[in-house]
């Protein structure tokens, strides 16, 4: 067996307030395909950023050995000089430049500052042949599909004399055919002697291409398994990914006691949404879910499962193209084609990305809270500032928003307090159905508990709550029922009593072949 090409020893990486990596060790052997898996937030991407110099030497603790040498990368350029190339989830290509120009961007074949086009095209064609792409190197990148763009990224990596290729969820945005091609290429590169690290959620993919797999959980290395060994089953990997002790605390919830067959407050039937750009791709595929008053229903899924896309496309068609299906409120079909219509029917969507979609960070707490229901504090188009202020003060107290006054710009609050402002904003709108998308992402444990208490209270008041989360313990602690999604499809529905992390994770990692 070949020796290690890469060793990362006791890596610790802290962000303000959060320990993203606490003691991670990773050993990758020469010439293998090494998979890294773990839940969202386990620290996979952070670890790769440490390795590639995105987080430069000095901002983390621990040691990196590459080809036996201690490496202290100060930026991406330094790691690339050693032959370590990372391909991020979001592709870093310039859409309006050609394939060839993209491949050699920052690394041009030039003499005296002028590009040598002959050499550029010749070299680009060779690289494209190596990755199995037949397009002309002068084609604009915007004119080829995402799958091919991924291959261009790999060609770009090859042009840098790559020795260790890191792929961060390379197939997340690809359809089955393109995924297959990409995986074949990784194996082909392996035969050429290139070592790869692949971050993936899809267990069938890992089984297909990887030699070994390292499992991360809560910023720690749990174990490294030999994928080819008989005892490494998918269940084995899953138990490694989720096997966390349930030390999170949740408010004591009295489970939903309403009638099982009560009419749902919100029901979504046969919902399908296409990708906004790659319109042939179904991001949400024939999904039907429902939620009753007083019930908290979870939606579990890994990245790319289509949970946010489902919620946003229902909420005023704010995502995707050709959304189709039926939405029923209290048994009656309703239109939710615009946000105003959705809000008018008593639906609220609390976004997972509060900074970009939830808050106006430069504006104050009170104005953010009132925005979605300004009419409630206004008479004939004029806002009653005093009433607005009282409303905001009320929320500041009841939600325990830690801000000196309600006139503080929201951008100056901590993540947890910002989240409370977003929640306040939608509670103020007075909805019957709240769709909460990752409501505790990026906030500390104390604030999480407060958010859970609020969610619990909302359900007790008779609101229907849809709870989208990537944290299984949180769903298990809060929900009456949990749906699971994978690759745009509904893969299961589990009652509170039967739900365990293992059951959910198995359904979340189901791919199409398995469900068939």
């Amino acid at each position: 067996m070949a020796g290690p090409v890469l060793e990362m020893r006791s890596i610790v990486k802290t962000f303000p307030g959060v320990k993203a990596l606490s003691d991670v060790t990773l050993t990758v052997r020469q010439g293998e395909v090494h998979a890294i898996c773990g839940e969202n937030g386990a620290g996979k991407s952070t670890l790769m950023k440490v390795l590639s110099g995105v987080h430069p030497h000095g901002t983390y603790e621990g040691e990196i050995l590459f080809e036996g040498e201690v490496c202290e990368f100060k930026d991406i350029r330094a790691s690339e000089d050693h032959g370590i190339v990372i391909i991020h989830q979001e592709l870093a290509l310039v859409p309006f430049l050609s394939i060839a120009e993209n491949i050699f961007l920052g690394n041009e074949h030039a003499s005296g500052g002028f590009i040598d086009w002959r050499e550029t095209l010749k070299h680009a064609s060779e690289l494209l042949r190596r990755v199995g792409l037949s397009d002309h190197p002068e084609t604009r990148v915007a004119d080829i599909g995402v799958g091919k763009q991924q291959l261009v990224e790999i060609a770009k990596a090859l042009s840098k004399k790559v020795k260790l290729l890191i792929l961060d969820e390379p197939t997340a945005a690809l359809n089955d055919e393109d995924s297959g091609k990409l995986l074949d290429l990784i194996l082909e590169l392996k035969n050429q002697g290139i070592t790869s690290i692949i971050i993936s959620h899809k267990l069938n993919e890992i089984r297909r291409v990887a030699d070994s797999v390292t499992i991360l959980r809560d910023g720690r290395t749990i174990e490294t398994l030999d994928v080819k060994a008989a005892e490494t089953t998918e269940d084995r990997i899953i138990s490694g990914m989720v096997g966390r002790d349930l030390d999170h605390r949740f408010p004591d919830r009295t489970a939903y006691e309403g009638e099982r067959d009560a009419a749902p407050a919100l029901e979504i039937r046969n919902w399908t949404v296409h990708h906004p750009i790659d319109q042939a791709r179904k991001v949400v595929d024939d999904v039907s879910i429902n939620v009753r008053r007083g019930e908290i229903v979870g939606i579990a899924g890994l990245m790319g499962a289509g949970r946010t896309e489902l919620a946003m496309s229902v909420f005023g068609r704010t995502y995707g193209r050709h959304a189709g299906g039926t939405v029923l409120k209290d048994g009656k079909e309703i239109r939710t084609k615009t946000v105003s219509e959705a809000v008018g029917h008593g639906i609220a969507y609390v976004t997972e990305d509060r900074k970009h979609y939830g808050l106006n960070l430069i504006d104050t707490v009170n104005r953010n809270i009132s925005l979605s229901a300004l009419a409630k504090v206004a008479k004939r188009g004029v806002v009653d500032e005093h009433e607005e202020r009282q409303v905001a003060e009320g929320f500041r107290k009841s939600m325990n928003i830690k801000a000196p006054t309600v006139f503080e710009p929201v951008g100056k609050l901590s993540g947890g307090n910002q989240q409370k402002v977003v929640l306040s904003k939608w509670i103020f709108a007075g909805p019957d159905v709240l769709i909460l998308d990752e409501p505790t992402r990026g906030i500390d444990v104390g604030a999480k508990y407060e958010i859970y208490t609020v969610i619990d209270r909302l359900a007790a008041e008779g609101k229907a709550v849809v709870f989208i989360s990537s944290e299984l313990p949180e769903l298990l602690g809060m929900c009456d029922r949990i749906y699971t999604m994978a690759a745009g499809r509904l893969t299961g529905e589990v009652e509170r009593a039967e739900a365990t992390q293992e059951v959910l994770m198995r359904q979340m990692t189901k791919d199409k072949e398995v469900t068939r």
Binding site: I362, L374, V382, R389, K402, K412, S414
Partner: protein, 414 residues
């Protein structure tokens, strides 16, 4: 930007505190207050500084009653445009067409009243309507057509300038009927006994000062009622006295000359009205929301397209008003009227604290920004500085103001 706020909470001043908090003396409190509101007060202080400097350099000519009156008349149309431009910029857009539109409306007014002898009140209404139509066409293309405002209004800039020349056949057209002339040049009528002062102006000044005091005291009382933090008493009365003093000074200065210019009354109504709309109306809130974070505003149910449309429609109406004022002041419509007005209006907004990325700015800020440019213009004219150097200095002033803003923001770490 993060958790520091949490730490400060317990230290927040006690609610309803009307007196300077214990342990700090009055001067510290005042400076602390100014430091907190650097953004709002920075430009006002800069304006006062410029006024004092030019008053000194011109040997007192700057603030002579006749010159103050002139200052108002000369800058009124830029200030009217700056108000509309501020709304456009807060919404996250830009309007390059207003200078040309100003000229076009002037030409339209001249053709109506001079060539076709339309009664001037009718012409006035038609001009404002024409402005609304022009603004709504541009607004429609931007909001619903999805064409960037920079492009639409750049096209509008060329188009309206061309239409102006077509309407006027390259000639200057005038004079206007008496009524229209008054808009840009007239003063409030002189009535009542001879007091050596202009009576109506005095009366208006007193009413204005009284209402400012009444508003401020009422707002403060309500804040205390809601147990909110208020300004320290000394500072509050100091600022109020300064405001009242400024109003009395302006009143006496204008009243000792020809009285208040009509256009100042128009401007006053606009400032109060738009200030109120931007602060208190749902529409105003929505403008700030779409400029501050468009996706978040959309997801909150704000009808962003409709808001954008009306912002540009409004800009068209204000540009028409400015066009009437300019034409009336020159007493003729000229193909070259309104040249570079859009740039002055944009500069006023940015000097007055607007942000390139939208979402930030106030109506009063636009006025202060406009006055900074206006006083610079007027002061340099009095000193006999050539237009060449005037442009250089105005350019530097814009750069300095926005540079200060950027530096200020970086320092406060937001």
């Amino acid at each position: 930007m993060s958790t520091d706020v949490t730490d400060k909470t317990p230290a927040a001043a006690p609610p309803g505190g009307g007196s300077p908090s214990g342990g700090r003396n009055f001067v510290q409190v005042v400076f602390g207050f100014i430091a907190q509101n650097r953004r709002q007060y920075g430009m006002l202080i800069a304006l006062l500084l410029i006024v004092v400097l030019f008053q000194f350099w011109t040997g007192g000519d700057l603030l002579l009653p006749r010159n103050v009156s002139n200052l108002v008349l000369q800058n009124s149309y830029i200030l009217i445009l700056a108000i509309g431009m501020m709304l456009v910029i807060i919404a996250g857009h830009i309007d390059l067409s207003v200078g040309s539109l100003t000229a076009f409306i002037g030409a339209f007014a001249a053709v109506l009243t001079v060539s076709h002898h339309v009664a001037w009140p009718v012409a006035l209404v038609l001009c404002l309507l024409m402005g609304a139509v022009a603004g709504s066409i541009q607004g429609f293309l931007i909001a619903y057509g999805g064409i960037p405002s920079f492009i639409v209004t750049l096209a509008g800039m060329l188009l309206f300038r061309g239409l102006t020349e077509i309407l006027l056949k390259g000639q200057t057209l005038g004079p206007f009927p008496n009524g229209l002339q008054k808009i840009g040049n007239g003063f409030l009528p002189a009535v009542g006994p001879n007091t050596n002062y202009h009576n109506i102006t005095l009366l208006l000044g007193i009413v204005l000062a009284a209402s400012v005091v009444w508003q401020a005291v009422r707002a403060r009382r309500r804040q205390q009622e809601f147990s909110l933090d208020v300004q320290p008493k000394g500072l509050f009365y100091g600022l109020l006295a300064a405001q009242v003093g400024a109003i009395i000074w302006l009143t006496l200065t204008l009243a000792s000359y020809n009285g208040a210019p009509i256009v100042l009354i128009i401007l006053g109504v606009l400032v109060v009205g738009y200030g109120y709309v931007m602060r208190n109306s749902v529409f105003g809130r929505h403008i700030y929301a779409i400029g501050g974070n468009l996706p978040a505003a959309k997801l909150s149910g704000v009808k962003d397209k409709k808001v954008t449309f009306y912002v540009f429609l409004n800009m068209g109406v204000l540009a028409a008003l400015a066009g009437l004022v300019v034409a009336s002041r020159l007493n003729a419509a000229s193909p070259k009227a309104g040249l570079n007005f859009e740039l002055e209006a944009i500069a006023s907004s940015f000097i007055g604290g607007a942000s390139m990325s939208g979402g930030i700015g106030t109506v009063i800020g636009a006025i202060i920004g406009g006055l900074v440019l206006g006083v610079l213009n007027n002061g340099m004219n009095l000193l006999g500085v050539g237009t060449d150097w005037q442009q250089v200095i105005k350019g530097l002033a814009l750069l300095a103001a926005v540079g200060f803003d950027v530096w200020n923001k970086r320092k406060s770490g937001s």
